[in-house]
């Protein structure tokens, strides 16, 4: 299996993803600089977290215009799976691969803590390592994670079963202050129409090894390897 991790100026989770992919694949992912005009054919593209271009203008807005993103969009449209984590999710909304937008957190503060997510859709390449309804604990670390979409878009996401993860409490229930950023309908991650693009704010790569304090993020990478190898 071949994977590529896109590296922007200001990415800071690119190497975490590299380690997580290496651990699950047993081989090295390709690190692709944002200024490259194209990337080689791969089985999975990861747009990692960080603060690409210092979040100038809007989080992800400048990165979405990077040369390499044109090829990422072209490959995604041909069905190559794309995973966007945190800033990567913001970039994917800005370049139109995913609908909606990530706004400033409702509480205005940067939030960095472990959260619980409920797996709402388990039958995708990204989520196959989890079972339907499984609650996992992985961290968020963001200032702009407040997902928003207009009513029509939100209705489509619900009807087409494209809300992949929701913020819940430890018992798997929504509410009770479980949502760290005020996102609409407690959305933590969404899929595109063909379920080949996933964007999520929490960081599975940051808890993918017991030495990091937990490994509940690892099944995402193991599941991708199982589905795409």
């Amino acid at each position: 299996m071949k994977t590529a991790v896109i590296v922007f100026p200001g990415s800071n989770c690119d190497r975490d993803v590299q380690v997580a992919l290496r651990q699950s694949m047993g081989s090295e992912p390709l690190m692709v600089w944002h200024g490259d005009a194209s990337l080689p054919d791969v089985d999975l593209i990861v747009v990692p977290g960080g603060f690409s271009y210092g979040d100038y203008l809007r989080s992800g807005a400048m990165a979405a215009q990077s040369p390499v993103m044109r090829d990422v969009v072209a490959k995604a449209e041909k069905g190559v799976p794309v995973l966007g984590i945190c800033n990567g999710f913001q970039v994917l909304t800005e370049c139109g691969l995913l609908p909606g937008v990530l706004m400033r957190n409702a509480g205005l503060k940067f939030v960095c803590k472990d959260v619980h997510l409920r797996t709402e859709v388990a039958d995708t390449a990204f989520t196959g390592g989890y079972s339907q309804g499984q609650v996992i604990r992985i961290p968020v670390a963001h200032h702009d994670g407040n997902y928003f979409a207009d009513d029509d878009t939100l209705a489509r996401l619900r009807d087409e079963n494209r809300i992949a993860f929701r913020y819940v409490d430890g018992d798997g229930e929504q509410g009770n202050g479980a949502n760290p950023n005020g996102s609409i309908d407690d959305i933590a991650g969404i899929l595109n129409e063909t379920r080949t693009v996933l964007g999520l704010m929490p960081h599975p790569e940051r808890l993918s090894d017991p030495a990091l304090g937990g490994n509940q993020g690892r099944p995402m990478f193991d599941g991708l390897v199982a589905a795409l190898s």
């Binding site: 203008l57 809007r58 807005a61 215009q65 909304t93 800005e94 609908p99 909606g100 937008v101 706004m103 400033r104 957190n105 409702a106 509480g107 205005l108 928003f148 979409a149 207009d150 005020g182």
Partner: protein, 81 residues
């Protein structure tokens, strides 16, 4: 030719920063502030000399980059000279 672009959140989109500013103003004793909406101001220097063409070009810039049309509106003012 200069273009001045105001980017603001659409009506109905919650603006937590505007709300925080409103509360801070009230805490400072400024009465009667019934609403605060925060936005961005972008000033462009353009080589274009035709105001209509300049405006069309800046509108295109707003839709492609300067504003996120999901949550933001923009206003373009072209200043001649």
């Amino acid at each position: 030719m200069k273009a001045k672009v105001h980017v603001t959140l659409k009506q109905g989109v919650l603006d937590p920063q505007g709300k925080a500013v409103q509360h801070a103003l009230a805490a400072l004793g400024f009465d009667g502030v019934e609403g605060v909406r925060q936005g961005k101001f972008i000033e462009l220097e353009l080589s274009e000399t035709d105001p209509a063409k300049a405006e069309a070009k800046v509108e295109d810039m707003c839709q492609k980059l300067l504003a996120n049309m999901v949550i933001e509106d923009y206003r373009v003012d072209i200043l001649e000279g």
